[in-house]
């Protein structure tokens, strides 16, 4: 016969409870501040970038929304004002570092949910070839899962996943502080970020902007991992063909400084391999638009008027100077 539970176990439970108490305060805090917008239904007061992937897919799958076309891409695709595209009612599915693996799964989820999709536009960039979906597991990028259970599991984990201090500080004081460069996102509308005050600042301070040291920084380089991207772009191509969806693939504009480092990491090989998978409109070359820093917010994000040139190209087929060439199309 064993001994009955003694005071030792009670002491153990008490001590464990004391240790866990601060840990239990954290989920409440996370829920109330909701830094990445996982529980949020109103994004008008979002201070930092939400997990757009999760939030947008949740919005789209709660009920069938009136969209028949989707543009997928990383945050750069957010600077393409999809409301101006004339050949469909577009929703902009851009989110930080979006990847073809995820777009393919999102597309399948949307089709299964009942969306009658006419057009899909993919805006690829350098992240497409040097990231894999396993790397997109941060709070900002955790993907949306079709299964209800997995979504609940993610939400439960989210409550215990502590954002860094910068994020928490921002999330805790959303109303008192005014960030001049605040970006807000029209998650429950077009999917694009609202035009930012950063754009207005650049227009008003162009000379200062052009001297921004970030333009001459050497970008961090990553190991290329093109296999996943190429395989899932091919899957998207096949899925679109099977479901009679018009697919347009584009390579985003890339800043010449960044292009130099990408060339070392065989970005050119990726572009050639991509031609074998699908024809695409390439805006990444050393064209007059990309060479001019007036067209860039920094090395990564082109400005809205550049997005408008892309929209113009899609709407009318007209090419602005040397901006954008078709590759892989006879």
């Amino acid at each position: 016969m064993n001994e009955a539970p003694t005071s030792a176990i009670k002491q153990f439970i008490k001590r464990l409870a004391c240790f866990a108490l601060p840990l239990l305060v954290m989920p409440v805090l996370i829920y109330l501040t909701d830094p990445f917008g996982i529980f949020r239904t109103d994004f008008s007061r979002q201070v930092i970038e939400p997990n757009q992937h999760f939030a947008k897919m949740e919005f789209l799958t709660q009920e069938i929304r009136p969209y028949d076309s989707f543009i997928f891409g990383s945050s750069k695709a957010g600077n393409v004002d999809s409301r101006k595209l004339v050949n469909g009612n577009f929703y902009n599915m851009s989110y930080s570092m979006g990847l073809p693996y995820e777009w393919y799964h999102d597309l399948k989820i949307l089709l299964e949910a009942g969306y009658d999709i006419h057009q899909v536009v993919l805006l690829l960039d350098e992240r497409t070839y040097n990231r894999t979906h396993q790397m997109n597991n941060s709070l900002l990028r955790h993907p949306f899962d079709a299964s209800e259970m997995e979504r609940w599991k993610f939400k439960a984990k989210y409550l215990f996943r502590i954002p860094n201090f910068y994020v928490l500080e921002k999330a805790l004081y959303p109303l008192h502080q005014h960030d001049p460069f605040l970006v807000q996102y029209d998650i429950h509308g077009s999917g694009i970020p609202f035009k930012t005050s950063r754009e207005a600042w650049v227009d008003a301070n162009l000379a200062e902007h052009l001297e921004d040291p970030r333009f001459s920084e050497t970008p961090t380089t990553y190991l290329p991992t093109p296999e996943e991207a190429l395989a899932y772009i091919a899957h998207i191509r096949d899925l679109c063909s099977e479901r009679h969806i018009e697919l347009t693939v584009m390579m985003a504009p890339i800043h010449p400084r960044k292009m130099e480092s990408l060339k070392v990491n065989r970005f050119d090989d990726f572009l050639i391999d991509l031609e074998g998978v699908v024809p695409y409109l390439d805006f990444s070359g050393a064209n007059s638009v990309n060479r001019d820093n007036k067209n860039w917010l920094e090395q990564h994000h082109f400005r809205w008027h550049v997005g408008d040139l892309i929209v113009e190209r899609l709407n009318t087929g007209r090419k602005f100077k040397d901006f954008g060439v078709w590759r892989g199309r006879n």
Binding site: A4, F19, Q134, I162, L223
Partner: protein, 475 residues
């Protein structure tokens, strides 16, 4: 069920509560609860394979009992042989059938005889290599009259399927674990507290170090044909840390979990990367498997062939390491890894006297540093075979590694991000090497200790990647 999953986070407190509050007065009920919990834990992956564990447990329970009763040496040999045949047959069928079929077809193909490719549709049951070795040791020890058979089937079945170590060890000896199922278990505050700390350390190693290293390792190995030597060297180095943090992390969680229920499992790792010889490395790495092979393969073979002199040791080392390699997986890469390891061990045996003379000529610290560095480099080199998908890939990796660029700075630099955390891991384990695990910090004031635990938890939830399975699950 993965240790670092939400399911386990619910399962463990539930079983813990039932164990200490509902059935704590009755040993048999405690064992029954552990048995049921273990079957739920295992069945979560695939309930169909539960029958295999039950069948394996039942066979060895009966054979063990009959072995003990019998005095006739022929009958005893037949019984022990049946257990060997059954357990190894089970392992052979589920783990190696396709491997041997493919190898035969390739061998015949190489001499011009084309055979129809046939592959059996077999799923490898998780943990089969671990629990079959555990039950085998039980039968062999009874055969050798080193162990009394267990009379209580519930205790025996719970011993075979004990959930903390069921799917990836440590491979417990019946002589250590089985008697613990027969003794009353009373809650120990210190043991449970320390168990939790060991679980935390194991989770940190798995989720923060191993899984993050794994992201880089996968990238580098998948492109080994076109990367420069310095990046490939980094890939092997990261893999060494990945596999160590992954498997020793699992062992820490297993040992810590067992301690919550009043059990003490054998340690499985003792700072293996600080070894100064291959032999020492194998006494510090996956200790439970290596002592198993030492007791049941190497020693009987070396003794049986002792007339061969030094060659008996060389032969026994070669066979033992090759089998150990094959145990890890049905692939020639693992066999090659075992052979490379045996070459290292044999070299040490053959050069023992010369090295001893040389050792006297240099200071102890310099000798230990150089031999430690050489051992670690050799271990990393052997891991190329362990990690590669095919022998071809391993040789391409080696070919590209041994280029002049090996000594250049690895490019791109983003690969180095996880490096500092690996140093934290090694440093912390070294400083705390005298303790069962590095989180034994009782000398520190409680607030400091708690801050360390919170910091680890913070890293765990923020730096940990997704629910990647443990590497040793596939074995």
């Amino acid at each position: 069920m993965l240790f670092h999953s939400l399911e386990f986070a619910i399962f463990l407190p539930l079983v813990f509560g039932l164990y200490w509050f509902v059935v704590s007065r009755n040993l048999r009920q405690q064992n029954l609860l552990l048995l049921l919990a273990s079957y739920v834990f295992y069945g979560w992956w695939d309930w169909r394979f539960l029958s295999l564990i039950i069948f394996s447990s039942a066979t060895d329970f009966v054979i063990g009992s009959e072995l003990h009763k019998s005095t006739d040496s022929r009958t005893r040999k037949a019984l022990a042989g049946t257990s060997l045949l059954f357990n190894l047959g089970l392992l052979g069928y589920f783990k190696y059938a396709n491997f041997f079929i493919d190898s035969f077809i390739s061998a015949f193909g190489s001499i011009g005889v084309a055979l129809e490719p046939t592959t059996l549709n077999i799923i490898l049951p998780v943990g089969i290599s671990f629990y079959t070795f555990q039950t085998l040791s039980y039968t062999i020890d009874i055969y050798r009259r080193k162990l009394e058979p267990e009379k209580d089937p519930v205790a025996f079945f719970a011993f075979v399927s004990f959930f903390p170590q069921l799917v990836a060890g440590p491979i417990e000896r019946a002589s250590n674990l089985l008697p613990q199922f027969s003794k009353p278990r009373n809650f120990s505050y210190d043991q449970a507290k320390d168990g939790l700390r060991q679980i935390l350390w194991g989770l940190f190693k798995k989720a923060v170090i191993a899984d993050n290293c794994g992201v880089y390792v996968n990238q580098i190995f998948s492109q080994s044909h076109e990367l420069e030597g310095s990046v490939l060297a980094l890939g092997v180095f990261y893999f060494a840390f990945q596999v160590y943090a992954d498997f020793s992390g699992y062992s820490d969680i297993a040992i810590g979990t067992a301690r919550l229920f009043g059990f003490n499992l054998l340690p499985n790792f003792r700072l293996p990367f600080f070894s100064t010889s291959i032999g020492e490395f194998w006494r510090r790495w996956h200790i439970s498997l290596n002592t198993w092979f030492a007791d049941y393969v190497y020693t009987p073979m070396a003794i049986g062939l002792r007339d061969w002199g030094l060659y008996a040791i060389v032969f026994a080392l070669f066979v033992t390491f090759s089998l150990s390699g094959l145990w890890h997986g049905a692939n020639w890469t693992y066999v090659a890894w075992g052979i490379v390891m045996s070459a290292g061990a044999i070299f040490e045996v053959l050069t023992k006297k010369r090295r001893k003379r040389l050792r006297k000529k240099v200071s102890r610290k310099v000798w230990n540093f150089l031999s430690g560095l050489a051992t670690f480099s050799f271990i990393c080199f052997s891991f190329i075979f362990f990690r590669a998908d095919t022998l071809g890939q391993a040789f391409i990796y080696l070919g590209n590694l041994l280029q002049p660029e090996l000594l250049a700075l690895p490019h791109p630099l983003s690969l180095a991000k996880i490096g500092p955390w690996m140093l934290v891991l090694l440093g912390f384990e070294w400083v705390q090497r005298k303790h069962l695990h590095p989180l034994v910090l009782d000398r520190l004031p409680t607030p400091v200790r708690w801050c360390i635990y919170y910091a680890l938890l913070y890293m765990l939830v923020n730096m940990g990647t997704s629910n990647q399975s443990f590497i040793y699950f596939q074995f």
